[in-house]
Amino acid sequence: MAASVLTRFCINKSKGSIRFIQRRYRVKTKWAATRPTFPATELALHNFDTSYSIQLRDLWPSIRVAMLSEQKYGALINSFSSAPNVITELEAQGCKDFISIDCTRNEVHQSSLDSMTSHRDSAELDPAALQPSMSPDIKCLVFPKGDISRFNPARPDSSGILGYYLLDAASVLPVLALDVQPGHTVLDLCAAPGGKTLALLQTHSVNHLWANDLSGSRTMRLRRTLQSYLPKEFLEENKIHITSTDGRQLGMTEEKSFERVLVDVPCTTDRHSAMVEENNIFKRSRTKERQKLPLLQTQLLLAGIQATRGGGNIVYSTCSLSQLQNECVVQQAISLAQQELGITVQVQDLRWFAQCFSDTFHFAPQLSVGELVLPHLCANFGPIYMCKLQRMN
């Protein structure tokens, strides 16, 4: 028996207020007797419990509670802002730039190791490989481990440019791993909403940046973000090219055009899916879309590989814990690139990278390929997966 329920408005009994329900949340009174009993967040969590308890075993409960708790943010400093004391003001609140701290510590460790190995012939310690090669200009401040303080929203300076961008600090890692050198042309295949794009620009090494996203609305968001953070003069220099097309096409149209390519694919956004009901990818109407994600991700990565010049780097990243969207996609793309396109791609080891930042983030131990930042209550960043590839021919 169908309930005669008015679905356009919802009366909140505890507060006595009336809320308008948008069409996509309304229940079809014709068939539904009650409101949907399984919210998408619950479906997402159930999915995670089933797959990740097997994949991550003992680590899963800690990850689960961290994903359901308030996320920790980092402040990506906007070096284009003319405000003088952005960093000192933030540091006064107790946060520190994890990039410079972790790097200098690693360098000190390296130099001590170097002095040791100069007298010995050790095969495991390869100083060249361990040398951190990443853009030093990116600064991202975070509060210390266990500190749950929040950042205040960024304030505009005299020209209306904001001082910092709040994002998951782990999102900066793929950009660091990409290692943009001066004069490079960079492609950001799925750029919106623009956090990683902004981080790329902070390196001050980008000769030309192509930022693309499939969705028109998200591309608008990207444009707005860049407008809030970059001075008009910079935007007018035509260094940045923003498009709103299917990234898979760019592989063919822009073959071998870029030295560095960032492929930050659409994924199940695990943390977001466990907490936010709105437009959740785990809702039943989006099941097919979700099941086709690994295929889409592989195609996007292949396009990214195609668009890279010989000797260039590609970094593949997602914000999901799922093996199917991470390691499997990378391995599939590598073999397809070889077999179908004759492109040889080599995985670049990021273990030193993970070691370097292991004080700020919790990395998953022993992945077959790439590195995975795990959420943990003491360092509630992530989940972020990243894998660095180099095109050999």
Partner: protein, 347 residues
């Protein structure tokens, strides 16, 4: 007839009545009757005190070191008691002490009680006796079987552990007991057990008490016998919520569905609440202490922010538990209407 050694068996009801009558007429006549610690039987001149001379003394002034020593306190104990009594300016300390002694508490226990709760000095003997009798009536001394002489364990233990209970009027005790029995549907036996194990409930706000019960009943799916066994009411609501939500968000505890089923086996409530934090973390939650402390900080902040939100709305309902997004609509519906669905049919 009576020796000076201390008996621990309480007097019978008729004896109590006799003594109370005696005291109301002659407040000093502690030396007569069943006061085993008094050796005044040997002093003939006190065996028949002249009523006039005794009545002219106010009861409070009778609390001399001498009388304390007679009650069985050592010298140091007596000095401390006397100091405390004079500081509090209680007028009926003598009768208060007598009532406590009647209960079968020995002098050192009484001293500890007075140290823990100096307000007891200011009580009136008759009030105190009434409250003790009321607690006794509620079953705090009831023995397991009638053939065994009344074992006075629970009432003494409760008062020694939580002396503040003596400051509470009978009406208050009644209100709490009624809440437990009528709204929370504990049996009389269970309600007595709760009062005995967690006398703190007598001082708590009634709506908060009911909310804690509702949290355990609906949110955790725990039933009354388990609540009593786990001494639910000893823990604060925030600590209960913290330990439960930590487990739930780790995937180790699930709220049972309408049929009372869960996909996993929930750890029993007493394993969660009755253990130290270290044991809880190691055996039940299987987590680090750092993790738990960060979690607690996050929860505290969340609660604080929700509290501030509620202040702005002119809503008088109980603070709703907004912790988890996974809450079934049905759960909220049940909780909100729990007053109507829960009351027994009065036919």
């Amino acid at each position: 007839m009576y020796s000076t050694e201390q008996h621990l068996l309480p007097p019978s009801i008729s004896q109590i009545v006799r003594w109370m009558w005696r005291w109301s007429v002659c407040p000093v006549a502690v030396s007569r009757g069943y006061m085993p610690f008094c050796s005044t039987q040997q002093k003939p001149h006190q065996a028949n005190p002249s009523p006039i001379s005794q009545v002219t003394h106010r009861p409070g002034n009778q609390l001399t070191l001498c009388s304390l020593l007679k009650m069985g306190f050592s010298e140091t104990q007596a000095k401390e008691m006397h100091e405390g009594a004079t500081k509090s300016r209680g007028k009926h300390v003598h009768s208060v002490l007598t009532a406590l002694l009647l209960l079968g508490l020995n002098p050192s226990s009484i001293l500890k009680i007075m140290q823990k709760c100096p307000e007891v000095y200011s009580l009136k003997g008759a009030d105190l006796q009434q409250r003790i009798d009321h607690l006794r009536k509620m079953g705090l001394v009831e023995g397991v079987s009638l053939s065994v002489p009344l074992f006075p364990g629970s009432l003494q233990r409760m008062i020694s552990r939580y002396p503040k209970v003596m400051l509470l009027p009978v009406k208050r005790v009644n209100m709490v007991s009624r809440l437990l029995r009528e709204k929370c549907l504990f049996t009389i036996h269970q309600a007595t057990d709760i009062l005995r194990d967690s006398p703190e409930v007598l001082e708590q706000d009634l709506s908060k008490l009911e909310y804690k019960f509702q949290y355990a009943y609906f949110r955790m799916g725990v039933r009354q016998p388990e609540m009593v066994k786990a001494k639910l009411f000893r823990l604060s609501l925030s600590e209960l919520r913290c330990r439960h939500c930590f487990l739930e968000q780790r995937g180790l505890y699930q709220t049972p569905d309408k049929k009372g089923q869960t996909l996993i086996l929930n750890p029993p409530l007493k394993d969660i609440l009755c253990v130290s934090e270290e044991t809880y973390l190691v055996q039940v939650a299987m987590a680090d202490a750092d993790e738990f402390h960060v979690f607690r900080k996050l929860m505290a902040r969340e609660q604080e922010e929700e509290g501030r939100e509620d202040e702005y709305s002119s809503d008088e309902e109980l603070e709703e538990d907004k912790d988890d997004d996974e809450d079934d609509d049905g759960l909220h519906r049940r909780k909100r209407h729990w007053n109507t669905g829960y009351k027994k049919d009065r036919k």
